[in-house]
Symmetry: C2
Subunit: 709 residues, 2 copies
């Protein structure tokens, strides 16, 4: 329901500055929009008593027609309130309340073009979203966007957690500096393990941009509903601390091709004086996205999966048939991973342990020569390697009640993929598969386009739409960073779109603080296929010469199943490594992948994070606590539990001498009876974590298991 009411505005005929204000429903956030005497539009945002965004200009520059939309006449202003709760298909919450006030300025170019443009603000208790809208009009049909001139004028030299602005990659490790210390080029240069990088400005950073001000505000800037537009990077003016929008260009330098009626994505500012509120406010991003366009969602099933995948990253087997393609450079040839017998081994493991899916990479021909040369015709998505008996495996998986998850690596050749999507998806369905992991390693074809430009943004949406049409779930690797489109396309289960666990296998990896940051950054836009669950942590296990390791303890890997949400959640390690630690693997078996509720309990970006979640349609709760390289101790009340229940809390925690570098695999598992009045002590080793399952206790358990104290 939207309650519309017109504002009473002094619309004088003489040119006078005008100001329009609204607040969040709870009043904590105040938005003010100004139209200056000469027609410029600016906005500012306060949180409680503090300024968040100082007056910041707004506008668009068009190329065809060539019009600078920066001076406006006001046609109308209206305001409305919206309050409605919607049910998710899957997610961190079974339902989400969308409660906001909207301020809609209908504007017209003050100069000769006469183009109509609206700027629409929505103010939630969590923050502000705004976008540009071009209504249907006689003055404008098709148009080309030259630039969007959106500013975010910050109040000071905030601490920020950033990765370089880049047209092609978001797989960077995070940097923690002041805004004034951002330097994108050396940060990009250092990231040698990323196959395609394209930084463009030394002062540019990507969104979601997480910041903390000196006066204690947590601020997150991102965008929502990026479906037909390039991604927005932010360029920092280090004198004024103003962030300016910078759109990823296309092959000829244009930014976007639109036709009225058209809207930009929402630009989002989430703010709170509590870090925990930021993560919880990822619902604001979802609220700014369109409801589901997928009519029949019955095929969509959140699930866990294992896969013929990590073994390539650690160098035990190869993607290609000839045995040369592994995650890390190595001279010796290894067996081809996706062979029938090996895949059956994963299917057996999945079936035995209640894991729904088995991902198989390297099943199709082409991996001998698949990227790095901007080659267009790479994979055909229907031709298995000779040692991959797809008919046999289709039957075998079905007989075991396990689904094989298909893999479509495009190597960045989106044109090749688009030509073959229908054939590829039919092939999948004909072979019992209804989930696919896609990949875009390599430079994009159409050549000159970028991973984060409008053409590819539309490509990803096209893949989501087409897979939906076939009843297929999709998990995209190397796409643009997510912006909540999983609400609109709930078969678009997950993305990579950040630096995943795989980097730990063959590069400098992800420092321990990485996972404490991702929920404040990348995950604001949607689920990440981070591939947690690595139990065999040091690569020297596979090859004594290797120095790489996952920057974690074993139980931190378990905690990630709670802190790092994905409805397609991998148990990424090898079956034999799980079989060596079946007591710890029990948590992965137990943990849910779809939730009724989520609580962000304690958090500081880059330092630590404690979250709990209630499994969907179940009384079970799960808790994850992680820390950076520092050992940390917490007291965590369990007040989120049902006050009327006793639970068996199974606590998977770091052993007292555990340490991500020196002793990463030392863990202890304890069980206690707890209830909502219990507070548990969480003792996290350096780079460590704790995972807890809370299952309602039987009377017998209440008697036999000791009470937590």
């Amino acid at each position: 329901m939207r309650y519309l009411f017109l504002l009473f505005i002094a619309l004088s005929l003489t040119a006078q500055a005008q100001e329009f204000k609204t607040t969040s429903p709870d009043g904590s956030i105040q938005l003010s929009v100004s139209l200056s005497a000469n027609g410029n539009i600016s906005y500012r945002v306060n949180y409680k008593t503090k300024a968040v965004i100082l007056p910041s200009s707004l506008g668009m520059k068009l190329k065809e027609p060539q019009v600078n939309l920066d001076q406006f006449k006001l046609i109308n202003v209206d305001s409305s309130t919206y309050d409605q709760t919607w049910n998710t298909v899957w997610g961190e919450y079974s339902s989400i309340r969308d409660h906001h006030k909207e301020l809609r300025l209908q504007l017209q170019d003050k100069n000769s073009s006469g183009i109509l443009m609206n700027i629409v603000f929505r103010v939630f208790n969590e923050g502000v979203g705004f976008r540009y809208e071009f209504p249907q009009q006689g003055k404008l049909a098709h148009f080309i966007v030259d630039d969007e001139n959106t500013q975010f004028h910050l109040t000071g030299d905030h601490k920020t957690f950033w990765i370089p602005g880049d047209y092609d990659s978001n797989e960077y490790p995070y940097n923690e500096t002041k805004l004034s210390q951002v330097d994108a080029f050396p940060a990009s240069d250092a990231a040698v393990a990323i196959s395609v990088r394209r930084p463009f400005n030394k002062n540019a950073v990507q969104t979601p941009l997480m910041m903390k001000s000196n006066d204690g505000l947590y601020i997150n800037i991102h965008e929502a509903a990026l479906s037909n537009y390039p991604a927005m990077d932010l360029v920092i003016d280090k004198k004024t601390f103003t962030l300016s929008s910078s759109l990823v260009p296309d092959a000829v330098g244009n930014k976007a091709y639109l036709a009225a009626p058209a809207t930009t994505p929402w630009r989002t500012i989430i703010v709170s004086d509590k870090a925990t509120d930021i993560i919880a406010a990822n619902r604001m991003i979802l609220n700014l996205n369109e409801p589901s366009k997928v009519a029949n969602t019955s095929f969509i099933k959140p699930q866990k999966f294992v896969g013929v995948w990590w073994e390539m990253h650690v160098g035990l087997s190869s993607w290609d048939y000839s045995g040369g393609q592994v995650g890390s450079q190595q001279a010796t040839k290894v067996p081809h991973g996706a062979n029938t017998a090996n895949v059956k081994r994963y299917i057996d493991f999945a079936a035995k342990n209640g894991i729904d899916g088995v991902l198989v990479e390297g099943w199709n021909t082409g991996w001998e020569d698949w990227f790095g040369k901007w080659k267009e015709d790479v994979f055909d998505f229907v031709t298995p390697y000779p040692d991959y008996d797809i008919n046999e495996l289709t039957k075998y998986a079905a007989s075991k009640g396990v689904k094989i998850i298909c893999h479509h690596e495009t190597s960045g050749s989106a044109t090749n993929y688009e030509r073959q999507m229908d054939t590829a998806y039919r092939f999948m369905l004909n072979h019992g598969m209804n989930s696919v992991k896609t990949g875009y390693v390599g430079r994009i074809i159409p050549r000159g386009e970028h991973h984060d430009g409008q053409w590819m943004v539309r490509h990803y949406v096209r893949v989501a739409e087409k897979t939906a049409g076939y009843g297929i779930m999709v998990d995209m690797h190397e796409p643009v960073r997510p912006t909540g489109l999983q609400r609109t396309y709930p078969n678009w289960m997950a993305c990579e779109a950040a630096r995943g666990n795989e980097f730990n296998a063959w590069s400098v990896g992800n420092p321990p603080f990485h996972e404490t940051l991702l929920p404040f950054t990348r995950l604001m836009g949607g689920p990440m296929d981070y591939t947690p669950g690595i139990f065999e942590i040091k690569m020297s296990h596979y090859n004594p010469e290797k120095k790489e390791q996952v920057h974690t303890t074993l139980t931190k890997q378990l905690a990630l199943y709670v802190t790092m949400y994905s409805p397609l959640q991998m148990a990424a390690d090898l079956p034999e490594n799980y079989e060596a630690h079946m007591d710890a693997f029990q948590f992965i078996k137990d943990v849910a992948v779809d939730w009724d509720d989520t609580r962000v309990l304690q958090a500081e970006p880059g330092d630590y994070l404690i979250m709990s979640r209630k499994a969907k349609n179940s009384p079970d709760w799960f808790l994850g606590a992680i820390t950076d390289e520092q050992a940390r101790n917490f007291i965590q009340p369990l007040s989120f539990l049902d006050a009327n229940k006793k639970y068996v809390a199974k606590i998977y925690h770091d052993a007292p001498n555990a340490d991500w570098q020196k002793n990463p695999m030392a863990y202890v598992i304890d069980s206690f009876i707890v209830d909502s009045k219990t507070s548990v002590k969480l003792n996290l080793a350096p780079g460590g974590g704790t995972a807890i399952s809370f299952i309602p206790a039987t009377d017998a358990q209440v008697k036999s298991i000791k009470k937590y104290k």
Copy 2:
């Protein structure tokens, strides 16, 4: 059969210039290739006693790896002779002899790269073809071509018939100047009726480039087998009269992406002291193409067709449903052409007159907003307008034994078309259609690519391959200029790829010399869907305010069915215009579209052309004679006729007072008995022509019809 013999070469260890020579089988053409002391390669060509190409350098510049391939070591030279005759699927000849000598230089980069490259020459009696080959090798796999440095050093300031070098359009009127007078920019600027033009150098021209030297040689430069490379334009050095290759770049400025083994297209030089030989030598282009890759050619059927098409060009009806899209700008709305009743009218006319096909344009939704804005998602190729009852028309056409020819206008959005090709072709087959006319009006998407760049070259081939897979014939409009690929893909029946008859309906049009030139230029590469057969010549017939007209007499339009070969040949005018002249239309009914033999009888490029052809598997011959704006009289011996037969010659000729401007529709039809000893007088009006059918005479006819004298 290829007879290989090694040359005896003085391969001395000291660096000395070396020269390798071969000739055409008849000795008339002499090729000499030189390797200089410093490793540069050049070639020269003589015809009989005259120089054609002075020493001209050869080489390639690669970008990835960055190597300048202009200095070579000779690894090996061999030479061979080839003589074989192959049968065409359709064409101007039922069989073609491929008789040539080959000189193959195996070269290696003299500098550090060590890259192996061959330059292969084939010398025919008609001319020379040569190409660069990159064999499979350890030194080179994928590579990017930065430039091809091929020169054609001419002997003087030849007369030339040229259109501007251009990345996107070949729909220019021809210019006849000296090489030194070429000026591409004003020529391009003047061609305002072309929707997408992209000239790039004031001295650049397109191939096929037709020239005539002061010493009486006719020289034609083109290329053959352009299937995975950009098209080549030629840039003129006006001081030395050297033409240099210029490749159409891609979106990022690269020229071609190749992987060894790879070959460039053949560069072709056709030369003779007789103009007629040039046209006949289009077989050399075919001989340089690969044999058919289409295994089952039974679905391929050369045919004539009418179509709902010219009526849009003349402004009687529209492509779009709302009635605004017509060939010429006009304010008033007109009915939608592709409506069920109207299409039935064409089907009836075709059925009644033995015409095989009916093209229907504007049948599918999207024409209201289809080009000019670089819009990607335009047509879907499966959604008819509401007044186009496709099921009814499918039945109706089948009941009349007529095939509807489908139309797929892409507006240049090749990515959109590629996504939908499978669906579109299945839809065609499901609705009884097995021929499609495609179109690429508008700027290309992928944006930054060009009509004539490698990406689109590969797209056209992809369309040919995919239609072949579905058993569909294809006729492409606005593609790159043809290079004989119809031999390899015989379902690729025709292309437009030049300035067609349509320009006469709504622009300054095509001057009368245009059709006398096209067989020397555009048609060297393959059949053109020129859409001849316009009987109602002045547009004032449709609208008294219109000044446009076809630059022709009526019988010249008939002669074009002989001089302008296409296996998909349109009778482009409206049924009612044919019904007003059924005596003249008889020639279009009679004329063949597939031939056993072709004779170029008399010709001078830009002035006149007389050709005769023998119908496939038939004793019938047809003759076409056309002139430019000058009236011309010829005596034409009929020695091509079977010496043992008498024929009824039905002569469709200009009336004595006919004139393309003042009296274009005045014609006379005479019938005579002739034989191979007869010579006929051909009296062509200004802008006129004569068409003759030769059908073996019955005894009764020999008695009743007067003998020619």
